[in-house]
Symmetry: C2
Subunit: 341 residues, 2 copies
């Protein structure tokens, strides 16, 4: 395979017997250049297969035409659907989405944002990791003039746009649903004590218990993590207790499989012995055994809203990101895992 030569502006200029600056102006559709010349330059550029170097033009205009997307993982339906929403907006604007995964690790997140300071992206959409305990790295990036928007997982102390769902209300709704289906001891599986989504859902859960006069005990809050095997063990221990819960709220999708497997291995029936509800965008929720009752987040719409606001801030320098706060409601979808038997 022989590498074809990449034609640059200088070579185009030589070919057309024009100055490089004329070529450059013609390609950027400047009013200083006649229509005839523009036409001639475009035809030759096309014939010689000239491709503009995005780095050269970014040095001039400081535009990378990339947006950075920082998320914990892609093996989660919420994030994969949110990506589709973000992409749908970016594509329309001629932007690429640079997807960076933190794998729920704080150090990874700091490294990624540090690198974004160098002009690799024009703006950032972020859903922070479950280990993110402070926001200096985020404030630092914003102070460099790079717009940043939170979606779903936010840092509450950073003044910028945030697109979230009604976490408190959803936690409340999930708990209320379980109480109405007869549960009297409900466990809440938390992903992280530092994440606002996890805490707000938990606050809704606690408020509902209070309102429905169900006694709350500290051990009903169960800290899970990002490891599949760990979670299975923790859940199995919880359900193996003599005084085991009769209802479980999983605050993220990834707890579903370990919950179902722990029940199976302990010969506990869902929903007879334990009712289960999960925050989840899992498409196969409906074909699980039993089908899973979910709190379903508007994932695509959250991604779309976040990207839309970012582009607004690109287009209008006076746009005040810190005034933008959008809450899109989630939906309770009742299925067999919370059936009254």
């Amino acid at each position: 395979l022989q590498a074809m030569k990449i034609i640059n502006i200088k070579e185009l200029a030589r070919e057309l017997k024009l100055s490089a600056s004329t070529i450059s102006k013609a390609l950027s559709d400047s009013h200083e250049i006649s229509e005839d010349t523009k036409q001639r330059v475009l035809e030759t550029a096309s014939r010689l297969n000239y491709v503009p170097n995005p780095y050269a033009s970014s040095l001039r205009g400081r535009k990378s035409r990339n947006i950075g997307l920082v998320i914990p993982e892609v093996t989660d339906s919420f994030f994969s659907l949110a990506i589709n929403g973000i992409e749908s907006v970016a594509k329309e604007k001629g932007y690429h989405v640079l997807i960076c995964l933190t794998h729920e690790n704080f150090e990874n997140e700091k490294t990624i944002l540090k690198e974004f300071q160098g002009g690799r992206v024009d703006g950032v959409l972020i859903s922070v990791s479950s280990e993110t305990i402070h926001s200096d790295h985020i404030k630092d990036l914003i102070s460099k003039g790079i717009p940043l928007i939170f979606f779903d997982r936010i840092c509450e102390d950073v003044q910028t746009a945030r697109i979230t769902t009604n976490d408190f209300e959803s936690g409340y709704l999930a708990t209320k649903h379980l109480v109405e289906r007869g549960c009297r001891q409900i466990a809440y599986l938390s992903i992280s004590s530092s994440l606002a989504i996890s805490n707000n859902r938990m606050k809704g859960y606690k408020q509902a218990l209070k309102d429905f006069k169900i006694p709350f005990e500290e051990q009903d809050i169960v800290d899970c993590d990002n490891d599949y095997i760990d979670n299975y063990e923790v859940i199995k221990k919880l359900l193996g207790n003599k005084k085991r819960p009769d209802g479980i709220i999983a605050c993220v999708e990834k707890f579903t499989t370990p919950i179902y497997l722990a029940c199976r291995d302990l010969n506990l029936s869902i929903p007879r012995d334990v009712k289960v509800i999960s925050f989840s965008n899992l498409e196969p929720a409906t074909i699980l055994n039993p089908s899973l009752t979910t709190i379903t987040q508007p994932a695509f719409e959250i991604g779309k809203a976040a990207a839309t606001i970012l582009f607004k801030s690109f287009e209008k320098k006076s746009f005040k990101l810190e005034l933008e706060s959008i809450v899109l409601p989630s939906t309770l979808v009742v299925r067999d895992s919370t059936l009254k038997v």
Copy 2:
């Protein structure tokens, strides 16, 4: 929010009373610069929060330190796991992965590769869309000197590295398993007649039918597409036939939910009336109703192998990509959806 000034090499040079070229050489750890000076430059760079501009250095070295990843979608467990494999290698090399989605659309794929010609990425990993009917856009990119590697979904006429799984054997194995479990009329759900993965799996299926003396009829090959509702309708029609299949092989994961729902809506029991096997990396396969027999691809390993070869080609100019062809075997995981009843 006031934007902090971004410190560049010139300003670092002024601060340190050294030439810009000395600073630049010190930062790139050149042997021409003393250890003392290097130390002094690094300390000052760190104190003033200097961040290298990746575009400036790419113009010099033609290195973007991005690799482009072109895939049909992220809402598929194979691709989300493959991304993790690719990321694990890229991270180690200090590279970012620019993930671009074609949404199974040929025009999108052409646009993405065209833009990659401009130096935005140093190399490309691609799994082509189900609509990709020729490979001119791929050959064009390679001819510009940008290394490109296929994984999973390849174009057979392009001479470059390819990391695939044993599609023919897996199709054969899936069919053999269904025959052994008593199926006598097996339908094959295809994703695209232009995709090698779909065709090779189908060839394995046809060979197994032949070997086991099961008559094959053209209508046993069912063309599905990327639309959930379309697929549900096609599958429901297939299973609503008087002469309906007693076994189904789904060549991609996304057919699973529509198959299960069509069976439920037609009051057909899996596995009693219809046995189902799917190419799938779905984590919840084990908790479906019934649990799903799968051909599981080594998704993480495929991504990792593809990225490893790409970096080899970066490091050694004489590396011959077209000689690299790796086949990693998939695994049959037997569960209840193919139970003999």
